[in-house]
């Protein structure tokens, strides 16, 4: 284990594969999250392209029903749990300690554990694509095939006998552990590791939205864990939590799933809202308009997200009273969301707006999220939702929110913080190409889906009749999907090219107000040579009462202890997928091997000397 202290000269970061495998540095873990999540994002994107090719025309036969059902299930599961959430996590990891003036997160080894669990959980889920022969299945793939929402009782052993759903429910439980560990870690970090003077109402908005997100994670993930454990017991031990014939009801799953599922939507969107709230002020050279209101509405959205789950279930027949109540709570949540949008526009208003790529994506977020929000109001109304739910109209809505919203916001964050993370400036012309291709592509791909749905095409169907009359619209949508793919390639090319030839980024290429811009790009291992003292919400800007703070000195005045790496988080993490192999293969002893690995890893981790 390496022992590093930085003295007069900034320490060169340790190099080599081993240093990455054992790292507990939040910045490296952030980059690991980024590349792993981006890899899964590409896999989910390829799945989407196959889906769109299949649907480009009626009676498509690129893939059969079996494969198609796997594709749309894995597309949703991958994008939500393996791409969007961990891409958000990559920014939590890299940026939050820098924004609050900390040297690392509160529990660096737990942080490494979260990452390894996420990676292994993602690999476990995707192993189902090629695991068929292990289970003597007729196909190569035994990927989950009952939708990312996995409605019981279709997921019961009676109707889904193969290992497909086992992969899904075990994989999601593994990933839940990663999210929970990271959630607690970041709550403790944000509450306890703030630099002196950084009161809660001086936290950068991104940090605030991250904090709300982590509270949603630690409260929502237990709910889906309960639902998944019930399902696991039903499938493996013959219980009947979702079996109507035994006196239970499959609707229990829907209540539990959406009780998790709706807060999950805010888990996906709040970090992007936080990013937008950072990018807009920087590039309009104005403080965020109504900072306290934006923060409070973020918190309010977090609370209200818990009171709307049944709007996913209007067709279930909960009765007119319940439908009316959930319609009202759902419409109410539009109020704090609208407030945020008006505050963002007011931030731009009167500013000196520099049209960087990051600003393009942040504005794209607002413009597209409005559309997703408004179509959301049309299915907040139960009677109209009865015509919309489970159709392509809802597919359009979810993609305007999660692609037009979350992904646009995440790309805003990438263009904004990539110079900080890599030390290189991305090419702005390539960035603009990326933005416009993606912007046009997403509207071509997703806008026609509103009509496709209202003209009567349900979602999750592997083929459709020419008589429906939606073949041309579907073709337009497919063209849009491929345009999005091209835009992503432009982004990757940009990263690759500027990584080799790009100009070096200064500490602060944008003139940002928050602490991460006061230190070098990329930051040294210890982040801050001296922990800053914060006197204002915009420490690096001149405000009415404060001048800009002085940047920390380039050379630390005193040696800074930096803990070395550790193998044990990875070893402990490895125990989880091994334990999951036991039910998957119906082999009891494997569970003891996995548990032993987990306990051994935790034991060594717990007694690892501090000075390593």
């Amino acid at each position: 284990m390496s022992h590093a202290t930085a003295s007069a000269a900034p320490a060169a970061p340790a190099a080599g594969v081993r240093s990455w495998l054992t790292t507990t540095d939040h910045k490296r873990i952030g980059l690991l999250y980024f590349w792993t999540a981006f890899g899964f994002f590409l896999i989910g994107g390829i799945e989407a392209l196959v889906i769109r090719t299949q649907l480009a025309q009626p009676n498509g036969h690129l893939v059969g029903a079996h494969t198609y059902n796997e594709l749309f299930t894995m597309h949703g599961t991958t994008m939500i749990f393996l791409a969007l959430m961990p891409l958000g996590a990559s920014f939590f990891n890299y940026i939050i300690p820098l924004q609050i003036g900390a040297r690392d997160v509160a529990f660096p080894r737990l942080n490494a554990f979260s990452y390894w669990v996420f990676l292994l959980g993602g690999l476990f889920l995707n192993a189902s694509w090629i695991a068929g022969p292990l289970f003597h299945a007729p196909h190569l793939s035994v990927a989950p095939d009952d939708g990312w929402f996995g409605y019981a009782n279709l997921t019961e052993r009676q109707f889904s006998p193969g290992p497909n759903i086992d992969f899904w429910l075990l994989g999601l439980q593994i990933l839940g552990i990663s999210s929970l560990a990271a959630g607690f870690n970041f709550i403790v970090t944000i509450l306890n590791l703030r630099a002196p003077g950084m009161k809660m109402m001086r936290l950068p908005t991104f940090t605030w939205m991250t904090l709300v997100t982590q509270f949603l994670i630690i409260t929502a993930f237990p709910v889906i864990t309960v639902a998944l454990v019930f399902l696991m017991f039903d499938r493996f031990f013959g219980t009947h939590f979702y079996v109507h014939e035994a006196g239970a009801t499959p609707l229990l799953w829907q209540h539990l799933f959406w009780l998790f599922g709706h807060p999950e939507v805010y888990i996906l969107i709040l970090p992007a809202m936080g990013i937008v709230s950072e990018v807009l002020p920087t590039f309009s050279r104005k403080p965020l308009f109504g900072y306290p209101v934006v923060v409070y509405s973020g918190i309010l959205i977090g609370f209200m997200g818990w009171s709307v789950w049944s709007h996913h279930m209007f067709a279930v027949g909960l009765g007119p009273i319940a439908d009316s109540v959930f319609a009202a709570t759902t419409m109410l949540i539009a109020v704090p969301t609208g407030v945020k949008i008006f505050n963002w526009i007011a931030t731009l208003w009167g500013g000196d707006i520099r049209g960087t790529t990051a600003l393009h994506f942040a504005v794209g977020f607002i413009a597209m999220f409005i559309i997703g929000g408004l179509s959301g109001v049309t299915h907040a109304s139960p009677p109209t939702d009865l015509q919309q739910t489970d159709t392509y109209y809802v597919v359009a809505h979810i993609h305007y929110v999660l692609f037009g919203g979350t992904i646009m916001g995440l790309f805003a964050g990438m263009y904004y913080w990539w110079p900080k993370m890599s030390g290189r400036l991305l090419s702005e012309p390539l960035g603009k190409w990326h933005f416009w291709l993606q912007f046009v592509g997403m509207n071509l791909a997703f806008f026609p889906m509103h009509f496709i749905g209202l003209l009567g095409m349900p979602r999750r169907i592997y083929t459709y009749a020419p008589e429906l009359g939606v073949g041309d619209l579907n073709l337009v949508s497919t063209v849009g999907a491929f345009l999005i793919a091209v835009s992503i390639l432009v982004f990757l090319f940009n990263i690759w090219r500027t990584g080799r030839h790009g100009p070096r980024a200064s500490n602060d290429p944008w003139g940002g107000a928050t602490l991460e811009w006061s230190i070098p790009s990329p930051p040294p291992v210890y982040n801050f040579s001296v922990i800053p003292t914060v006197t204002s919400r915009l420490p690096r800007w001149r405000t009415e009462r404060h001048g800009p703070m002085a940047d920390p000195p380039a050379v630390p005045p005193a040696p800074i202890h930096v803990p070395g790496g550790s193998w044990w988080p990875m070893v402990a993490a490895l125990g989880l997928p091994v334990m999951a192999l036991a039910p998957l293969t119906h082999t009891l002893w494997v569970v003891f091997v996995g548990a032993a690995l987990l306990l051994f890893g935790i034991y060594r981790w717990a007694f690892e000397p501090f000075e390593i």
Binding site: T249, K286, I345, S381, L386
Partner: protein, 333 residues
């Protein structure tokens, strides 16, 4: 109202290029239930469109008016404005009241739990992957094609025999989930005669995309004739005809384990075939009910509908047996 429908349809058609007819369009309501939701949708749509225009316009104006220019003075560091904050909190809230009130009114006016007096009751049972229809007051059981009289109130009671499905005939109204152990209701009064298509809307396994349905809205007299025919027993094939051979094949084959033909076999797993010859389609609306498709279906259903529970018969039926079966099934009008 007419104008806004015209506008929406035009927008849809413009996007499609040519367009139509759209047999499952929610823009073409043919019942009171579908009309109620359509009116509500257009109300909400126009509110949403107005908000869209205002907010996107504000965004664009801000971007153009305050774009960076050389020599512009540093912007005033405004931190907020209480009156504005209150205004843009209240404005959406007020608009939402205008959406919520007609919403709640429509929820209650379209509630269907109580059977309308003098109406027709139909029970819908979802199966993987076909629809069973029962008319309890008429003693009729049929599959995939529902007949209802025009202008009469109809109450549909929806449930499932296996997993969750969702019954949706868009031009007649919104969908309701078919859930095992629960009964959901929709009620409508169809206002024009026609052959309306729909399909299962809740993902229900391999052939979810192949679980289609039709609702035939008949003139009252035609409905009465259909109902009388369906109430009767199955047609008896003439002596020493191909159809009679088919009946023999049917009676000695696995068919009888799953299908009902009144007086011939009591199976309840698959669709009731007592009057299968009177239906226009087979396999849950996938194929026309003709000899070629029937023969292929009997020979190898899973190749036409992935996952179909009607497996290939072992040992396989001979071509002659299949031809006879087809003749028999077609005779069951």
């Amino acid at each position: 109202m007419l104008r806004s429908r015209w506008w929406l349809t035009c927008a849809a058609l413009w996007l499609v290029g040519c367009g139509g007819p759209f047999p499952q369009s929610t823009f073409a309501p043919r019942s009171d239930f579908a009309r109620a939701t359509d009116v509500l949708f257009r109300d909400i749509f126009w509110w949403a469109a107005a908000v869209f225009v205002v907010v996107e316009a504000l965004l664009l104006v801000a971007l153009i008016r305050f774009r960076h220019r050389e020599g512009r003075a540093a912007p005033k560091p405004t931190h907020g404005h209480t009156v504005l904050e209150i205004a843009w909190t209240l404005a959406p809230a007020v608009i939402l009241v205008f959406v919520a009130v007609p919403t709640v009114r429509t929820i209650f006016s379209t509630a269907a739990d109580e059977a309308p007096p003098g109406g027709l009751k139909v029970e819908v049972i979802g199966h993987q992957w076909w629809w069973e229809y029962k008319y309890p007051d008429l003693g009729i059981t049929t599959a995939n094609e529902m007949h209802v009289p025009v202008g009469k109130p109809v109450q549909v009671a929806i449930t499932s025999a296996d997993v969750i499905h969702s019954f949706w005939a868009p031009v007649l109204g919104g969908k309701r989930d078919a859930i095992p152990g629960h009964v959901n209701y929709i009620a409508f009064r169809a206002d024009s005669v026609g052959d309306y298509s729909g399909q299962c809307a809740e993902f229900c396994g391999a052939s979810h995309g192949n679980m289609r349905l039709r609702v035939l809205v008949d003139r009252d007299s035609a409905f009465q004739v259909w109902a009388e025919d369906q109430k009767g027993g199955p047609a008896v094939p003439p002596k020493s005809s191909l159809a009679e051979q088919g009946k023999t094949v049917y009676s000695r084959s696995a068919c009888i384990g799953c299908h009902t033909i009144q007086g011939v076999s009591p199976g309840i797993i698959g669709p009731n075939l007592t009057h299968v010859g009177s239906r226009t389609t087979i396999a849950a609306g996938l194929f026309p009910n003709d000899s070629a498709h029937l023969a292929r279906w009997i020979a190898d259903a899973p190749s036409l509908k992935p996952g179909s529970l009607m497996t290939r018969m072992q040992p396989p039926l001979t071509d002659a047996d299949i031809a006879a079966l087809v003749a028999y099934l077609q005779s069951l009008r």
